[in-house]
């Protein structure tokens, strides 16, 4: 373990904005909370660049990941983040657990909590499940790792972090000097299956909280039935808004959930809302393209476009760990474990 006295100095003070006790929705954070997560994540991004990318901050803490739905990157990202903070990770594989024997979500959560865990990272196909779990737990923190069509708050935080990083590169300044003011007036176009997208719901809340202008574009049948109360504009025709977009957030067409039947064909979807070579040519030079993954090449994004430098998908994955370290730290590390931050005295 490296000597660490200098690097985490700014983290040794309590968080500037109280975050928590749970992270169920971006609405739990607000602009100040998002700014705090990004600030802390910048420190952990630095940790990740070390030869031994690990700090003892959450030593002795137990983080349980409960994934009731398939996931590769989100689960690995959370588990890597927890391990780099020296937390113990308890990973519940639903396929081999008593859930398959008919145990209810509530019983599963109460059983796991009885083992003394400090945080539950929950992925569930039902919207609202993390909010319900937060009512059932006694003391564990609950982190929403994606609930149905509702929200995926850490993904939106990763996207904000990645966009800021790209903006900072363009301006040739360190990202943390930008704070979150760099989002003000930014035009973010979210494209595709907003109706069934938890990423879109979290992104709309996050980007709009930070002062960006959010535009939704996609087939009308894949937009939510009502946009009352949403701080967004709608551009049915993607080509109307491409040229003025600062950020294009592509969503995956969730064909496995039947979203395919909301449009006549994948071909027609791609023709209207896919990010083709032609459309990329109409983007502003500084425009950034994000995608929460997994990408379906040839549907929402053309294969050769996916590999362009303006497409920051790989960076999103890399940043996922630092951002989730920040979330775990802010929810778990701000009290008793705080003294262990940045100092390995073992």
């Amino acid at each position: 373990m490296t000597a660490t006295g200098e690097l985490d100095a700014s983290l040794e003070a309590p968080p500037r904005t109280p975050v928590g006790p749970h992270l169920l929705s971006i609405a739990d954070l607000g602009a100040a909370g998002i700014a705090e997560v990004l600030r802390v994540a910048e420190h952990f991004a630095e940790v990740e660049r070390r030869s031994i990318p690990k700090v003892p901050t959450l030593r002795g803490r137990v983080v349980a990941t409960l994934f009731f739905e398939e996931s590769t990157r989100t689960r690995l990202s959370f588990e890597t983040a927890a391990k780099r903070l020296s937390a113990d990770v308890l990973s519940l594989a639903v396929a081999s657990s008593s859930v398959k024997k008919g145990e209810s979500l509530r019983d599963t959560v109460e059983t796991i909590e009885a083992m003394g865990i400090d945080a539950v990272v929950l992925r569930h196909s039902s919207a609202g499940a993390p909010e319900q779990v937060a009512r059932w737990v006694q003391r564990a923190r609950v982190i929403n790792a994606g609930d149905g069509w509702h929200e995926h708050p850490t993904q939106a935080l990763v996207d904000c972090f990645t966009v800021r990083e790209a903006l900072a590169e363009g301006a040739q300044v360190p990202p943390d000097t930008l704070g979150v003011s760099c989002f003000e007036g930014l035009r973010v176009v979210i494209v595709g299956d907003v109706r069934h997208s938890r990423v879109a719901r979290s992104e709309v809340l996050a980007y709009s909280a930070l002062g960006a202008e959010v535009v939704l574009s996609g087939p009308s049948s894949l937009l939510p039935p009502s946009l009352e109360g949403w701080p967004v504009k709608v551009a049915p025709d993607l080509d109307d808004v491409l040229a003025t977009a600062d950020v294009v957030s592509l969503l995956r067409l969730q064909a496995e959930r039947g979203s395919g039947s909301f449009v006549p064909s994948l071909r027609e979807y791609t023709a209207g809302w896919g990010l083709t070579r032609d459309r990329v040519a109409r983007l502003a030079p500084h425009a950034i393209v994000t995608h929460p993954g997994p990408m379906v090449r040839g549907v929402e994004i053309a294969s050769d476009v996916a590999d362009l430098s303006s497409v920051v998908v790989t960076r999103q994955v890399t940043n996922g760990v630092a951002v989730r370290m920040a979330v775990l730290f802010l929810l778990l590390g701000a009290d008793s474990a705080f003294e262990g931050l940045g100092t390995e005295r073992g």
Partner: protein, 439 residues
Amino acid sequence: MAERAPTVVIRGGRVVGNGGAARADVALVDGVVAAVGESLAVPKGATVLDASGCLVSPGLVDLHTHLRQPGGEEAETVASGARAAALGGFSAVVAMPNTDPPIDSAAVAEEVLALGRDQPCEVLVAGAITLGRRGERLAPLRELAALGIRLFTDDGRGVQDGALLRRALEYARGIGVTLAEHCEDEGLAGGGAMHDGEWSSRLGLPGVPAAAEEAMLARDLALVRQTGAPMHFLHLSTRGSVALLAAARAEGLPVTAEVTPHHLWLTDARVAGYDPVFKVNPPLRTATDAAALGRALADGTIDAIATDHAPHPPEAKDLPFDQAAPGMLGLETALSVSVVALAGVLGAEEVLARMTAAPAAIAGVSVAHRPAATAQGGPLVAGAAGHLCVFDPDAEWTVDAHALASRSRNTPYAGTTLRGRVRHTVFGGVPVVVDSELA
């Protein structure tokens, strides 16, 4: 009742009738109303129930109660549901047929009717329209009608096949029974978990559009016109349904309808915390819908208030919202919630009329159908059945889910303070609830 009913005098209340209320005492002898008048003498040995400040109404009639027996006894039994009904001021409930097995045969109907004897309220039974409520073949309506069953419904589902419903209506017309529809086009409903609109969009929950109810109601009204058979519509929940029904009534179609207290009072915004206690079918709709339903009840477009009392055990409710069973308790709070929800639209006396005479007529148990001494729903005159509900419109109480007589706890009103409470219930001349407690 088996034993001889005592002599009871209900003193000092205002007796509800003809849309108003007049100060009068009510004397009950041998299970029937012996006299209604001011300052009645109290015979020696008579039980006196104080009704000062209260409205004295015929016992309430619920057109829509899920008693869950047979098959769902962990949620409710006929006995526990009847006690809940008595506490809510009801002297008759219609048990819905979506039990396990369903009430689609004489054997099951007789079982429920037998369980309903000697309870603190009358237990009526509705039969299924189709075998197994599967919407494929007609249930034995005539055999069930012979047991006194007057209402038939596949409640919990609508009859999806319009041709089958047409046959059912034609067949029912000849027997003289009424079909009651749960209007929900399952294709349009698409497995939704709440009202399709602003809140479902925000919460990321699949929605049930208003059109799922309205499309089936429109089809059914066309079939009523086609067949001339009467039809009752269960738990209508949308403004569009009100408009369809108003047009059908103006046309003179033989239709009746009910609305639940929760659709009059609660809205889809309550789902914001994902608490499945607010999951119900049809779903809680918008404030605009709730207001339209209240007006429809006031102007007579909708006839009656019915509870859709739907008990569920915790294992069916403590689940992710989209997996939880739909339904909420209603019997013990129905009158209080209705009076609160309709404040400014309907007075308590008018609310009572929509929970007594109107549902009794639809259920086929009013004085038009039965001798006065056994009829439900009033009016409270000498010779009428001794079924009474004494309601204190000023009593405030806080709903305690654990203090309910129902075996289940899924009330959306836990912790809510309501103004107006059932004080006494008399069934067949016997006080079964006194001072808001089972006697």
